[in-house]
């Protein structure tokens, strides 16, 4: 009960933070939850959202409409709460997101080369997020690394795990390697002013 109260409090807190994200992000969440837990799992999540006072019907979501990023982050917390998922599940959810996204297919032109993709990344953020910014700081194909920063994004540390998973999968789309690593070097939740992810591969 106390956890519920804290989750409720956290939900209310998250929902109060300004910032929206495109419905397509929720659609990929829906597909993953459906894959892992089936229709019943989806209904349980929807019921929990309603219980927490922030109802959402996944099937009604429009890909181009804006929805609260707080709601997006709350879904991660609910999944951990009701299905006892841990960080690795959220990471896997992040790696799975590009697989479901129709958008990824349409973004193939950005996958021509790592450099091209790297250059296009800030635009991709802008298309999907109404706040903050993604900065492609550096890419060195010879040294096989790249640095990406996300600024003005401060919801919950769980998002960082999701982003790591997401970047890992995208990286695998662009660079053919068996070892693509993403490390969050800086994080606002650890006192930094932005998030900084170091992408490395072999």
């Amino acid at each position: 009960m106390s956890e519920n109260i804290s989750l409720k409090q956290e939900a209310d807190r998250l929902l109060k933070i300004p910032g929206n994200v495109k419905g397509v992000v929720f659609q990929t969440h829906y597909k993953y939850i459906l894959y892992r837990t089936g229709e019943e799992g989806v209904k349980t999540v929807e019921a929990k959202l309603e219980e927490l006072g922030h109802p959402l019907k996944f099937k009604e979501i429009k890909s181009w409409l804006w929805y609260s990023e707080g709601l997006d982050v709350l879904i991660f917390l609910i999944l951990k709460d009701i299905f006892n998922w841990d960080d690795s599940d959220i990471f896997d959810m992040g790696t799975s997101a590009p697989k479901y996204s129709f958008i990824v297919g349409t973004l193939l032109k950005t996958f021509i080369s790592p450099k091209k993709f790297f250059e296009e990344t800030p635009k991709y953020w802008e298309k999907h997020y109404s706040f903050g910014q993604m900065e492609a700081l550096e890419i060195n194909e010879d040294q096989k690394y790249a640095t990406v920063r996300i600024k003005d994004y401060n919801f919950h540390p769980i998002s960082c795990i999701y982003f790591k998973g997401y970047f890992t999968r995208i990286g695998q789309f662009i660079i053919k390697t068996n070892n693509f690593q993403v490390e969050e070097k800086k994080c606002v939740h650890r006192g930094d002013t932005y998030h900084e992810f170091l992408l490395t591969w072999e």
Binding site: Y32, K62, W64, L65, F102, I112, F173
Partner: protein, 552 residues
Amino acid sequence: MPEDIKLKEKYQELQESFEDLQLYFEQFTTFLPIAVCSITPIGVIISINKFFQELTDYNEMEIVGRPVETLFLEKEQGKMLTREVIDGEVVEKELNLINKKGEKIPVTVSASLRKDKEENILGYFLAIIEIVRFKKFQEELEKRLKEKTKELEDRTKALENSRGGLLNILEDMEESKNKEEEEKNKTLAIITNFADGLLVFDEHSKLSLINSQAENFFNVTAKETCERSIPELIKFPNLSLLINLLIDVSQKEENKEDKKNDQSKFEIREIFRRELLIKDDLVLEVSSIPLLKDDKKTGALVVIHDITREKMIEVMKTEFVSLAAHQLRTPLSAIKWTLKILLDGDLGELNSEQRDFIEKTYKSNERMIDLINSLLDVARIEEGRYLYKPVLTEIEPIIQFVVNSYKDEVANKKINFEYLKPKEKMPKVLVDVEKIRLVIQNFIENAINYTPAGGQVTISLKHDKKEIELIIKDSGVGIPKDQQARVFTKFFRAANVMRLETTGTGLGLFISKNIVEAHQGRIWFESEEKKGTTFHFALPIKTEFDEFITGF
């Protein structure tokens, strides 16, 4: 309407159109009955359609993001696939898809390069078409082809073996044929050089072989007689004597009327050592036996033995016996009468001891005279001088006469003797009474002699339309099986009776047989040692007309 609101509406319309397009695309790819996936320029799968999932069993979660070669058994070819597509080659190849369960699925893959407006390569679409059925069909076809090829090879092998086998068989056959030829030549040589004459008739009674000895006997050649039928052979004067002996007279008579002269109606009968007088200095003995194959008559073999010399010796012997018998009979008759005078007491009374000796001597002399008479009969028979005086008469009084003459002997020997007279009147027979009486006497005497005391002797008569049959049955010692064939030969006496009875000439049955056959009758017997013997003789029934004809 403010500009920004217009733009917002426009944007929303575009987004809705985009979503419709997305839905259309999803529905289209879902409908598409071909597995399709989208691959990045570096060969990573980034999207799949529904049929792809069905074919591979992988869902998006499991396969998106993995290298395309993951899908195929041929990993190197999978890697080369991306390179080839990117290099602009038309790719269409057969690979083996490995599904999630690890099953191998034969597929053909074809790729289509994706480029943007600026001709930048964005990756490629890969269509995967299952060819399991085709492959199965192809494999089945290959399997059947292999099977058929093997079958053909086996057959060829079998044929080769058969050929070898056939050649062996042919060789064997050739060898057998040669052996057969050799055997045939040997047989022909034997037949040709055989001391006896040989004639072989086929199943249609056509002469198929005549050896040189037979050619000499009948003064014919094989060339002019072989392959000729009975009616044709009978035209050869010397051969006609033989043919008449070999076929029934009745057959000849029947077929005389047959204009077609069907030779199949003549059948060589079975005869055993029948004499055939060709001329004064040539007497032949003819035997004929049927040739059988699987119990079916396939012809007849006629063996002709030259008995001229034997006959001459026999004649000389008979003449000697006749002469000796005649010479002996005179003194024996004189002895008989002398002994009779002594026994009658004409020369003085004899004491009992003297009488006993004289009686025994008289009986011995009588037996000697009987033997001499029998020998004379035999000699007459063999010389053909055994004259018959046939009269048409009833046989019953003859039998009764003989039966009566044995009454005392039967009583003395305590034999149960029975003469079963026929109830009806018997037809007449044309017989020489004296000779037939001798036959009956021989039979009854044998029956009494060889039946122990207390035994049974039964005489009966019967007749049918053709003949009268006399049956003399005893419960005596019987004739041993191995000696039965010689019963009617001269001087035959069975071993078992010689032990019992020392008297007997062994000529009675020989004479009887000759007498019966001289009457155109038949004589035969059945016997079992220690159980008894039954003798039969049958005489043809004659009418008054027959007697009249015989008189001429």
